[in-house]
Symmetry: C2
């Protein structure tokens, strides 16, 4: 029996509530197929700052480096959002973790479950059949560029947007390979009409396109993409973009899936893989037992497939989500007030249904 | 009779077709109310590069500086988009013009005409009553920050995101003042959980909020804003944001108005005002006589109001647009295939109807 070490990082806000259920789903597969999952937990974010003063304690980092996969919740706390001058911040833990683990490829599949087609603000006839796979670069761009500082007695603030060809190439390669297994269409999003870093991005993707002659490549400006994603989501299949533009586009795209509460993501590099919902810590609903655990559970489906090659098990998780939705069970965020058959349940009841 | 000098800058692609009609609408008001409009034309963008090698020739800049208002079309050409290595680019003309004229405040009103509520991909019941006024900062941010360069033999590209307190303050002041005359609600959009420049942005807006105690201020991250704009557009009234985030959000918001072809904008500073559609040069439909002239015509409505204080005349233009839509006339981009009463017309027929 092969042991696979999973580190669970609940983090802040609803992170704890949702990873609890992600973990329980994983447990149901442990000891089968020759794989046993062992679990460990560690601190990150505001919770880690409160306990240790550090948003990513060394102990956490060591555990992560020794892990086979990470199940992550969310970080963030309103306290920091309201006080931009605070120097130690929960998000630093997340960013440092991405960088230290070399998780440069963030995959965000936007899958619309038929049952949720009416939960979206977008018309069902526009959405029907939409299925997008985002590749967001995750360890470069203005998230990490230096200098990042105050100047002129604090009166001026600077961030640095930066990309190297190598950074673009390695994420683009993953996107091209994925496009090959899907509809062979890749949309690369940048702002090459203004930014030098986007011109480099576009050059590299154009160059690589020659080696993937079977993939149809389209280049799109971020402003156009933000518009077209809503106007015609079915015109996208694989989308490749940088860290900042990917952050914006994937949150926007959550409306295609009906709710942020449904979206899972995988962050990959050359070592361990990290799996997390794209929703944040959502302090406004935290502790109330109403958070939607499906994004964490769908993150586990990604983990089973990508980190452990358990494709059938991954499909089973997705099926369980489909089935539960079909039976009418909904957390608040995906409930449709106009549908009398919706059965509104809390986090735990939803988790139980899936199990 | 007071003379007011208008410079018309058709620019590239459909810019010429649509400004032709903006100008004709302006002409109908000339010689009334003690104001006479005189017109001059100048080159910008790809058209200017072809003629002079320069996307913003000195002659154009001199005319603009001496103008009372500018009616601008669009710049951009596919040739440059496909070749990121070209050094002289149409957009440089636009950016230099914004900078040289000090047009730091870009106002983009998102008004949904009742008749177009079905042209949007968003559900009518989500849209009904949406009315947003964007204030996009236009002469700072990563659009202009230095260094902007290649390093390491061209293998690395850098742009600089930068804001000073002064730059944030002057655009925020305009947004706060506007919020006072509307529903007293201001949403400031940034990425303060990651960017130093966004933390400065948030600090300044928080500080100023004390002087506008009657305005309710909300701070939102750009990723959340991109999502919420689609999920619940009516929760926004006045939106204040930086150059890059404003570029993305306003294009996205065009889907609230049914089409990019309906959206006008005003770019203001301390001297002349510039008025332009938010749509681009749209080469794919240029020269075919199908472009929607309404955004250029609605830009003229903004000009009459803001630059010349002709409020009644401005309202008349908007009424004419409303009336024409009510009569069922539509350019292709705003036509609704499911509505049998739509009369699809080209650029000129639409322009004539308005006149
Ligand atoms: C919390 C924040 C730093 C993070 C990001 O911007 O990457 C989040 O929005 C995400 O998308 O994972
Ligand atoms: C053409 C381009 C440089 C421009 C911008 O990004 O500002 C355009 O998208 C706009 O919004 O006016």
């Amino acid at each position: 029996m092969k042991e696979q070490k999973i580190v669970v990082l609940p983090g802040d806000g609803i992170g704890k509530e949702v990873t609890t259920w992600g973990k329980k789903v994983l447990e149901t597969f442990s000891g089968k197929n020759g794989i046993r999952f062992t679990f460990d937990e560690a601190l990150i974010g505001h919770t880690a700052i409160e306990a240790t003063g550090n948003p990513l304690p060394d102990e956490t980092l060591q555990k992560l480096k020794a892990s086979d996969a990470v199940l992550f919740g969310a970080v963030g706390h309103p306290k920091y959002d309201n006080d931009p001058s605070l120097k130690v911040r929960p998000e630093q833990g997340l960013l440092k973790m991405r960088k230290e683990l070399g998780l440069y490829a963030n995959l965000r599949p936007i899958r619309l479950f038929d049952e949720l087609i009416h939960a979206s603000s977008i018309k069902p006839e526009i959405l029907k059949g939409a299925d997008i796979l985002f590749f967001r670069e995750l360890t470069g761009d203005v998230y990490f560029g230096e200098p990042r500082e105050r100047r002129d007695n604090g009166n001026v603030a600077v961030d640095t947007m930066i990309y190297s060809k190598m950074e673009v190439r390695r994420i683009a390669k993953r996107a091209f390979e994925a496009a090959r297994t899907r509809s062979k269409k890749l949309t690369s999003v940048d702002k090459a009409n203004v930014l030098e870093s986007s011109r480099l991005w576009r050059e590299v993707v154009q160059e690589m396109a020659k080696d993937y002659a079977d993939v149809e490549v389209e280049h799109m400006f971020i402003d156009t993409a933000a518009m077209k994603l809503i106007k015609d989501p079915r015109s996208f299949d694989v989308v490749l973009t940088g860290n900042l533009f990917g952050d914006i586009l994937t949150d926007e795209a959550s409306q295609i899936a009906g709710s942020m509460g449904m979206l899972a993501s995988a962050s990959l590099g050359d070592q361990t893989g990290l799996y997390e919902p794209i929703h944040g810590s959502a302090y406004d609903i935290s502790g109330k037992g109403v958070a939607n655990p499906l994004a964490s559970i769908l993150s586990v489906a990604l983990m089973l497939d990508i980190s452990f090659g358990l494709k059938a098990e991954s499909a089973k998780v997705i099926q369980a989500v489909e089935q539960t939705l079909k039976e009418g069970f909904r957390t608040r965020d995906i409930a449709d007030a106009t549908t009398a058959t919706d059965k509104i349940v809390g986090t735990d009841a939803m988790g139980e249904k899936i199990i």
